[in-house]
Symmetry: C2
Subunit: 146 residues, 2 copies
DNA sequence: TATTGTTATACTCTATAACTATA
DNA sequence: TATAGTTATAGAGTATAACAATA
């Protein structure tokens, strides 16, 4: 079943990329901004929340910061950390972007009723929680590496 | 919601890659073999079934064919077409691979009950059908490009 | 010594256009 | 002319290791 999940996920991402291109924001950047909505995160936290390696997050944040959508500031508590927050400009962009993404979702999940969509959402969140993906502040040790 | 779908899809793929590596088969190759189970397909058909561009399918099939898991043969009806079928060796490999993939699924969806998994599967299939992904023999014209 | 962010690099995936052979 | 497969290539995404600054 994971194959189906992956395939649909790719298709959804393609839809996002298509719809977000005119706005000039990538799907991943959108996901990052959405994560930052609820307050600043360290890059580690953001990385685990987005399920991407911190090293790969650097370029993405450089881009967001260059365009004035996000800001990095050193955490006074632990000067190793960068607290990533979003700017007002970022918030404004996010509004626009979220609207476009909602349209994509609307078409992508058009085969499902509203109830089914909510149900699907619940199921996905449940999986995400079990694989410690969505909850931002929570670090898991993989140990497996693989 | 598509972002969540995409993220979980990536995580699932990573799990597959991890579990399939020792067997020497990639997630996409596994998906391809599964598609070929029910009979030969043209590369176009296989491409749409896997939601990947036919041009990118070439290398994948070269690999499968080199290892004796699949065979390409010209369609006598239309000599432009390659009918892609799987060999007995491919079938044997698939058995092994499917078992490993099932283990991955089992862990990945461990947060869901059996009922919930079936429900999720139904919902995903429904989405897939609406975006003309899963049904192998069915071509859609995008027109959008994008 | 361990952790955060960074850099660099290699590898895979994806997208696109152009080519060939057949129709 | 249009289609199936192929080739080549550029771009995006991903994984890994090593490094500097800080703890």
């Amino acid at each position: 079943m994971g194959f189906l999940l992956a395939q649909l996920g790719r298709a959804a991402t393609r839809g996002y990329r298509c719809a977000l291109m005119p706005i000039g924001v990538k799907p991943r950047e959108t996901a990052a901004l959405m994560r930052l909505q609820d307050g600043p995160l360290s890059q580690q936290e953001l990385g685990t929340a987005l399920d991407m390696d911190p090293s790969n997050l650097v370029a993405l944040l450089n881009d967001l910061e260059a365009r004035g959508f996000a800001v990095r500031s050193r955490d006074p508590q632990d000067r190793r950390r960068h607290l990533v927050g979003m700017t007002d400009q970022g918030r404004a962009a996010l509004d626009e972007v979220v609207a476009a993404a909602a349209d994509v979702d609307d078409e992508f999940f058009s085969a499902l009723t509203q109830e089914e969509r909510e149900l699907l959402h619940e199921l996905l969140v449940k999986i995400g929680e079990s694989t410690e993906i969505p909850p931002p502040v929570e670090v898991a040790e993989a140990e497996d590496g693989c």
